[in-house]
Each structure stands twice: as structure tokens, then as C-alpha cells.
């Protein structure tokens, strides 16, 4: 189970099939407050790293969700669309956003691990 983090406060977890699950971090949902709306990417669509793949909107603010790596979206979390509060209650579990193929493994590997991300988000 390899868990990685981005400077945009997203997490990626590698699945057995080689795809990555993507969501927002505990720190991100804390900063956003109560999440009331998510917009998710299109299944089957390919994205380049850094492209806007969705939106997470809280009572306080709306933030873009960026595609953290090059890849093609294989699945989105319809349960999150129906109940955006999952992003608050279980951000690194049931509140995942989408699944994406890992087109370039090196891009994945160079993301932060949990130690580096903790340091990064503490400094933020």
C-alpha cells in the first residue's frame, strides 16, 4: 500500500491493479470546512498532471481538484457526489474522489511520502 501526497493537499494510494485512488487530505478538508459540493472528472477521459479534474466546494470556499499525475480516469466516487460530507468525515477513506491509471510511474514515485507531507502541511 503506497500512499503519496501532493503540494495541493491531495493523496494518492496505489491499488493492486496499478491504478491510483485520489482524494483530498485531512489537512485540506480541515482548511475547507464543511464540504457541500464536489464536481468529479469524466470517466474515460485522459488528463495531464496539473489539469483541473474537479472541484471541491465548502461552505467557505471553492477549490479546484488537480490531476496529480498523467492518467486516464477509470472510476469516480458516486457516493461522494451524493454525500459530499464524506470528504470531511472520511477524507482518506470513503471520501475518495476518483481513480486514475498511472501513465508515468516516475511521476507517482516523486510525490511526497507521509513524513514529507506532514512536514509540508505543518509549514503551510
Amino acid at each position: 500500500m503506497t500512499l503519496k501526497f501532493t503540494p495541493d493537499h491531495e493523496w494518492l494510494q496505489l491499488e493492486d491493479n496499478g491504478n491510483a485512488i485520489v482524494g483530498i487530505t485531512v489537512h485540506a478538508q480541515d482548511a475547507l470546512g464543511d464540504v457541500v459540493f464536489v464536481d468529479l472528472p469524466e470517466v474515460g477521459k485522459s488528463y495531464a498532471k496539473g489539469e483541473v479534474a474537479g472541484v471541491v466546494e465548502s461552505v467557505k470556499a471553492a477549490a479546484d481538484v488537480y490531476m496529480p499525475i498523467d492518467g486516464t480516469v477509470t472510476e469516480v466516487n458516486e457516493a461522494l457526489r451524493a454525500d459530499p460530507a464524506l470528504a470531511n468525515s472520511d477524507p482518506q477513506g470513503a471520501g475518495w474522489f476518483f481513480k486514475v491509471t498511472v501513465a508515468n510511474r516516475a511521476q507517482f514515485d516523486e510525490l511526497m511520502d507521509d513524513v514529507a507531507y506532514t512536514k509540508f502541511s505543518d509549514a503551510a
Binding site: G33, D34, F37, D39, V59, A62
Partner: protein, 357 residues
């Protein structure tokens, strides 16, 4: 905490905006709104003088009764919206925090020769709102339960260790039953703590104040109405009593009354009007979002919008040409480049629960 009207104010307490919103709708929420301006108008001519600044009936307001008012500039724009109540010896006025300095300057300059204009910077203001507000407050200040919506009086709040004199009104900014309590700043802390010690009461921040007032269909000055908006455009004709309108005994006589009364009597095609809007998809539509007709032509803008926690759907206020203002009219909001269909809807979005006796 965020800067707001020169004050540092909480957007939310640890419970969070949603929980605070629901708590106010089901129990009682305490808001510190001491940033708002309080003032008194004193003198035999005070009511007539104040009436010359607003398109509302001040003269006929009975002692103990409160009313909503609109301070207009020379162009008929809404400098501020306010609440005022006639008391035995004066008219007590509460204005918005962001406008209070300009308001007091304007009132002083306009009618200072006809009555005394007395700012009350020494007074704090607490709002206790929600269906259980009366239970909590009457425990400490017996008698307040006899007040009805938009009336007020002097009371003493007994905290157990001290007796705090207050002036309060049964009104607020949430659509719920509740009170706004004017208290000397030296006793505001003790009063707030005594209210928070009641089992029904929790502190509520600015965020929930905004979602509560929007669900209640109440305007936020600076967003939904401003110095460039007339009462007619703002769809606030309910605030203009008949006596001040064409055919009334004291018709006109307020700033820009000729153009405002003309706009009421013969609405100009294409003029804009404040409407309620509900999104037909579960996407919050925020302020400044552009509204288009179904052909893609820009026709208006959202001035306030969020996902209403109680109504559980995205609600908004905005301005549309009168031709698009009929209930049920479909328009499109453009949110992050995508079309979100919206429908003109009646306000309040959530039924109000004022105590009318």
C-alpha cells in the same frame, strides 16, 4: 477569525457552519453583532425628520413597535438598511457595521438641526435566535416571552450574580423567533456567558448568520442591496408603507421620491429586480455568478448564493430584468464555465417562524 467592518469576527466556532446553522433552526444560537451601529434620535421632531430620509412610515409607528427602514441617497440608492423602534423618549436605530460611520455622518448632517442624533458606541449587541431562544432568555429575564415579533422593551437580565439592564427587541436576521439585545459593553461579556450557560444556547459565527439570513430571504447590504440599488429594484416595496406612496397622506418627501414613486407606478421595461433563485442541480451558485437567458445572453448576476443547509438545495438572490422575474422563469448560471440551470423562486426559501402572538 476574519476582519469584518473593522472588527475581528468568527466565521465559525468549532462546531462548524452547518452544525451552527442547524442548531439555530432547532434550538437557540447566540450571535455577537456588536459591530453593528446603535444610535438614538431625540426630540419632538425626530420622527418627522427621520422620515425625510427614508421611504417608510416613521411618524405613525406606535411606541414599542419596531420597523425595517431604508436610508436613501439623493439618487434613491440604498445607503443602508436598518431597524428602528419608537420608544417613549426617542427612536432607537440599529444600522449595519460597515455603514455606521457614514450613516451617522449622513443622519447628523441631514437632520441634526431637527433632532439630537446620539451615537451609542458604548453599547454592545447580542442576538439570540431560534425556536428555543424565548425559553432560554425568559429564564433569565421573565416577561420577554410576552413580546411579539417587531416589538421591544427594557428588561433586566438576572445572571444569578448580577442584574443587567438591557433594551431588547423580538426580531432578528435568521427567519426564526428570537431577540436582539442591546447591552452596555461593560456587561456584554457577563450577559453572553449567562446566555451561553443555558442548555439551549450555542455560539454562532458569521458564516451561519449568512446562510440563515439567505434562507430567510433577507438582504445583506453590500451584497444584495447597495448605494446603487433603489428600493424598487431591490423588490423591497413591502418596506414602503402606503402612506408614503402615490395617493398616500404623506406621499413622497424622501430622497429621490419622484423617481422612485414613478418607477413603482409605471415600471420601466428592462429594469432590474431582485429575485430568489434555486439551482436545479446540486451546485452552489455564489455571488457574482453571471446569469444568462436560455439563448446564452447575459442578463443578470447572483448577489448571494450557497447551499442552504435547512432547505438542502442551492439557493441564491440575484438581479434579473423584470421580464425574467416571474416565479418559475428558467435562467442559466455559469459556474466555472458550465451551465447550471436555475429557476426564479419565492422567498423566503425556508418558512419564517416569527412569534406574532
Amino acid at each position: 477569525m476574519v476582519p469584518f467592518a473593522g472588527y475581528s469576527m468568527p466565521v465559525q466556532y468549532p462546531a462548524g457552519l452547518m452544525a451552527e446553522h442547524h442548531h439555530t433552526r432547532t434550538a437557540a444560537g447566540l450571535f455577537d453583532v456588536s459591530h453593528m451601529g446603535q444610535l438614538r434620535l431625540v426630540g419632538a421632531d425626530a420622527a418627522a425628520a427621520f422620515e425625510s430620509l427614508m421611504p417608510v412610515d416613521v411618524i405613525d409607528l406606535a411606541v414599542g413597535k419596531q420597523r425595517y427602514g431604508l436610508l436613501l441617497n439623493e439618487a434613491g440608492g440604498i445607503m443602508d438598511d436598518l431597524m428602528f423602534i419608537r420608544r417613549e423618549a426617542d427612536i432607537f436605530v440599529v444600522v449595519n457595521g460597515a455603514c455606521k460611520v457614514a450613516d451617522i455622518t449622513h443622519i447628523q448632517a441631514s437632520i441634526g438641526s431637527r433632532c439630537e442624533v446620539i451615537p451609542m458606541p458604548e453599547m454592545a449587541l447580542l442576538a439570540l435566535q431560534g425556536p428555543q431562544a424565548v425559553t432560554a432568555l425568559s429564564r433569565l429575564a421573565p416577561g420577554v416571552e410576552k413580546l411579539v415579533f417587531m416589538t421591544g422593551g427594557h428588561f433586566v437580565v438576572n445572571t444569578g450574580t448580577q442584574s443587567i439592564p438591557v433594551f431588547l427587541t423580538r426580531s432578528g436576521y435568521t427567519g426564526e423567533d428570537g431577540f436582539e439585545i442591546s447591552v452596555h459593553h461593560t456587561q456584554a461579556d457577563a450577559l453572553a456567558r449567562a446566555l451561553l450557560a443555558q442548555p439551549e444556547v450555542k455560539p454562532i459565527g458569521l458564516g451561519a448568520r449568512n446562510s440563515l439570513r439567505l434562507e430567510a430571504g433577507l438582504c445583506l447590504h453590500g451584497n444584495d442591496i447597495d448605494a446603487g440599488t433603489t428600493p424598487v429594484e431591490a423588490n423591497l416595496l413591502w418596506a414602503m408603507q402606503k402612506v408614503r406612496r402615490t395617493g398616500g397622506a404623506r406621499a413622497g418627501g424622501f430622497p429621490a421620491s419622484d423617481s422612485i414613486l414613478a418607477a413603482i407606478d409605471s415600471p420601466a421595461p428592462g429594469s432590474r429586480k431582485r429575485v430568489g433563485l434555486v439551482a436545479l442541480e446540486r451546485v452552489p451558485v455564489r455571488e457574482h455568478t453571471v446569469l444568462q437567458d436560455l439563448n446564452g445572453q447575459p442578463i443578470g448576476e447572483v448577489t448571494s448564493g450557497l447551499l442552504g443547509p435547512t432547505v438542502d438545495k442551492p439557493v441564491a438572490m440575484g438581479y434579473l430584468p423584470v421580464e425574467f422575474a416571474a416565479l418559475g422563469t428558467r435562467v442559466n448560471a455559469i459556474v466555472r464555465g458550465k451551465i447550471v440551470p436555475m429557476e426564479v423562486a419565492a422567498m423566503p426559501f425556508n418558512p419564517t417562524h416569527y412569534f406574532r402572538g
